[in-house]
């Protein structure tokens, strides 16, 4: 069996590669493990962001930089693995970056990592792996996959290190993708991974962890979107064209009772729950409680107005087999750092689901992923499309 391991140049995927290359519970020998790095984005494309990037924290969130490719190659060489760089820039832009920008412009706060997983890492990467003769792929994700023989299905679980668990980003995996994937770090804690990396003397053992969205090097999404729209120019898609025009993208900031409080310069500069940067001062703290793309309005209100109980989820992928009309009692996580909260989930037609939390949740944000858990198992998940009720005050 040949395994293609996705190597980003970071300590996690490097350690995953090291475990596969040397741990015979996974592979027969290093001959059968191939290291691949996906070139996804060219940081030099948006030069206006480069100065912001160089001021950013060292070594963080710089996707596909020459340094990372260099590190990945060095680790592969160190482990004696054949290593290749594969270029997915075009597909990454089509399937991840552009949808990310468009989602922001629609007043959502998108989560590109899950789209990247389903569209790139577990789709294009799997295809390339199969083409080069690798039936299985491996990544450095903190998550676990188990085969349920009785049900004839693969099941997905959170990684044992709850602080590092990445199952939230993997809810979109299909049965075929789960069948092909290996997560060598799923049973390990980050601390153990670092220890293994040091023990094996991997060249990246001391490299700092990357954070933020990989292609937004500076971590400033608004700035990225502005630079991307600028680069795309007037010939870009209609939605982008509107937003490019500053006059057109300008809109009102209103209170929840309809009072106009100020003006904003584009919905993509705002996120539900945001407090700073509203551009005006008030006596009491005000938060963005909703974005209204139809009227290009930012709605602000007091903290309690951020709490809601019901939401609609679209494009749901069920990893467990859920039937239409079925109601599940589970926990739902509405952003990566959120603690999954008890809820009833009703599977609807058209891959939708209606979720009702036991307790109101703060800042349910359209565009983010809603992931359904039973204990550590990921039952499925989708994209939050709308908050259904008024504030649960």
């Amino acid at each position: 069996m040949t395994i293609a391991v996705a190597m980003s140049g970071g300590v996690d995927s490097s350690t995953a590669a090291a475990l596969l290359a040397q741990n015979n519970s996974f592979a027969a020998g290093s001959e059968n493990v191939v290291g691949l790095t996906m070139q996804l984005w060219n940081q030099r494309r948006l030069p206006s962001l480069l100065s912001a990037e160089s001021e950013g924290p060292e070594g963080r969130g710089r996707c596909c930089s020459l340094d990372d490719v260099y590190d990945a190659r060095r680790v592969a060489n160190f482990l004696g693995l054949p290593y290749y760089l594969v270029n997915f820039e075009r597909r990454f832009e089509d399937r991840v970056v552009r949808p990310f920008v468009e989602s922001y412009l629609r007043g959502e706060t998108p989560i590109p990592c899950s789209a990247c997983n389903t569209e790139i890492k577990f789709a294009q990467f799997v295809e390339t792996a199969r083409q080069i003769g690798a039936d299985r792929i491996a990544t450095g994700h903190y998550a676990r996959i188990r085969r349920d023989e009785a049900a004839g299905r693969y099941r997905l679980y959170a990684g044992v290190d709850s602080g590092r668990d990445q199952s939230y980003f993997l809810f979109g995996l299909t049965q075929d993708q789960l069948a092909r994937a290996l997560f060598p770090l799923g049973e390990l804690t980050k601390q153990e991974v670092r220890a293994i990396a040091r023990d094996r003397k991997l060249p990246v053992a001391e490299k700092p962890d990357s954070q933020e969205i990989c292609f937004v090097a500076s971590g400033n999404y608004k700035q990225f979107i502005d630079a991307y729209l600028e680069e795309q120019g007037p010939a870009s898609r209609p939605v982008a064209q509107d937003a490019r025009d500053n006059e057109l993208s300008k809109g009102e900031i209103v209170s929840s009772n309809g009072q106009v409080l100020g003006e904003h310069n584009g919905l993509h500069h705002f996120t539900v729950g945001q407090r700073k940067g509203l551009g005006f001062a008030t006596g009491e703290p005000l938060y963005v409680i909703a974005l209204e793309p139809a009227r290009n309005r930012v709605i602000v209100g007091k903290d309690p107005e951020l709490f809601h109980r019901r939401m609609l989820v679209r494009e749901v992928n069920w990893i467990c087999a859920a039937n239409e009309g079925e109601t599940l009692d589970a926990r739902v996580k509405i952003r990566n750092r959120h603690v999954a909260a008890p809820a009833l989930i009703e599977a609807l037609t058209g891959n939708e689901a209606a979720v009702e939390f036991r307790e109101p949740q703060r800042a349910i944000t359209p565009g983010q992923a809603a992931v359904f858990y039973r204990d550590e198992e990921v039952l499925g998940g989708g994209c939050i499309s709308a908050v259904l009720d008024g504030p649960a005050i």
Binding site: N87, R90, P99, S103, T118, E119, R130, V239
Partner: protein, 402 residues
């Protein structure tokens, strides 16, 4: 079990021939002197360099004192372009080159453009061979240099230098050729092609890496690229790479004495490989002119095959080849040569270059012909299955409809 390894990427680089290695090795240890030194050590080194200059000049039918040693093809090309333009008189200067040059010429020309020099890039047709008439039509009163490669690195196509040389001579314009892919593969005669400057590199003809030569016709006005000592008749400063230069000399000598046999043997193997692929694999075509080519190169387009995955899959089966130029691998842009000869970006991405060499055997070719059809079948089967399966559409698909 070690895998059989077949090296079919000789246009990227070649192994050093044993005789070349033998010739070089004394100059790393015993005869280590600096060729500029007065003493015995220096004289030994100097003597070796002059012997090598003789050997190189013979391969080109040049005079020994017209050969300057450099660090390789890239430096030779850059020296020719920048050196001629800088030495030329006149307010406005113009250079004629082609769209299929190696990046060492193309990017140097683009750098000249940024300095205000005008450059014309003559197009080529599907043959991959430039029309001398087009070169002539590109000439302007202020043209100071014509630079046309001898043999293309990706297609192997040989350019009509004799005709272009006549044109350049008639119009009194300096003529440079990048002969990196021609030297050692086809006969070169600087008088016949009437070039004033010619670039070559040792590692493409079983010599060592990091050394090359620039032929500069006597009387040519050329500024150096680098400044330092007065080595190489002021054309290239820096302490000479004596073992490298000795290796280049030896490689040229071997190439000259075996050129005809070697070309015939390698050409027959290349034809066997090419015919084997064209006959057993449907949807394959040769890119570029098949008649006027270096005998070692075959560029084949495989329909419905992703070249990047193909090269990796072949490497994992022990066969080394490449998509386009080695320098552009990993880049998203399709090869400028393939697009220049009229291939679509998709076609360009499905083209593979096989380049044979001195050490390619008949068994190597038979092994390649066993492996290649199977890998192509595997790639096409997966590509077909993937496009048949409805793509999983979640966030991004929704965004498109919105």
């Amino acid at each position: 079990m070690t895998m059989r390894r077949v090296y079919l990427d000789n246009n990227a680089t070649t192994p050093v021939a044993p005789e070349v290695y033998e010739a070089m090795s004394p100059y790393l240890r015993e005869d280590f002197g600096n060729a500029s030194s007065i003493h015995w050590f220096g004289q030994r080194a100097k003597g070796a360099i002059e012997d090598a200059r003789e050997q190189v000049s013979k391969l080109l039918n040049a005079r020994a004192n017209e050969v300057a040693f450099t660090s390789g093809g890239t430096e030779s090309d850059n020296t020719a372009l920048f050196g001629i333009v800088e030495a030329a008189r006149g307010e406005s200067k113009h250079v004629v080159t082609t769209a299929i040059e190696h990046h060492a010429v193309l990017h140097a020309a683009q750098a000249l453009e940024r300095r205000g020099v005008k450059v014309s890039y003559v197009r080529v047709g599907p043959s991959g061979i430039v029309d001398p008439g087009d070169v002539e039509r590109a000439i302007r009163p202020e043209t100071v240099l014509i630079s046309v490669m001898y043999a293309n690195n990706e297609l192997g196509t040989i350019q009509p230098l004799e005709e272009i040389g006549r044109i350049a001579r008639k119009r009194d314009i300096y003529f440079h050729t990048d002969a990196v892919q021609a030297a050692g593969k086809i006969p070169i005669d600087v008088e016949k092609i009437a070039v004033d400057l010619l670039s070559m590199s040792a590692h493409k003809l079983n010599g060592p890496k990091g050394v090359g030569a620039l032929y500069v016709r006597r009387g040519t006005a050329l500024k150096p690229l680098l400044y330092g000592g007065s080595h190489e008749r002021d054309r290239r400063p820096g302490t000479e790479n004596v073992p490298g230069i000795v290796g280049l000399g030896k490689a040229c000598e071997i190439a000259r004495t075996h050129l005809a046999d070697s070309a015939a043997r390698i050409g027959a193997l290349r034809d066997r490989l090419e015919e084997g692929i064209l006959q057993t694999i449907p949807g394959t075509t040769v890119v570029g002119d098949r008649a006027s080519r270096t005998p070692n190169t075959a560029n084949i387009a495989f329909e419905r095959v992703d070249g990047e995955a193909f090269v990796i899959a072949l490497d994992l089966r022990g066969i080394a080849c490449s998509t386009g130029a080695a320098c552009s691998s990993g880049a998203i842009d399709p090869s400028h040569v393939l697009t220049a000869v009229g291939r679509s970006p998709a076609e360009a991405r499905s083209s593979i270059r096989f380049s044979l060499g001195k050490f390619t055997s008949a068994e190597d070719i038979e092994y390649a012909l066993e492996v290649i059809p199977a890998v192509v079948q595997q790639l096409r089967a997966i590509a077909a299955r993937v496009s048949a399966e409805a793509p999983d559409s979640r966030f991004s698909a929704a965004s498109k409809h919105a």
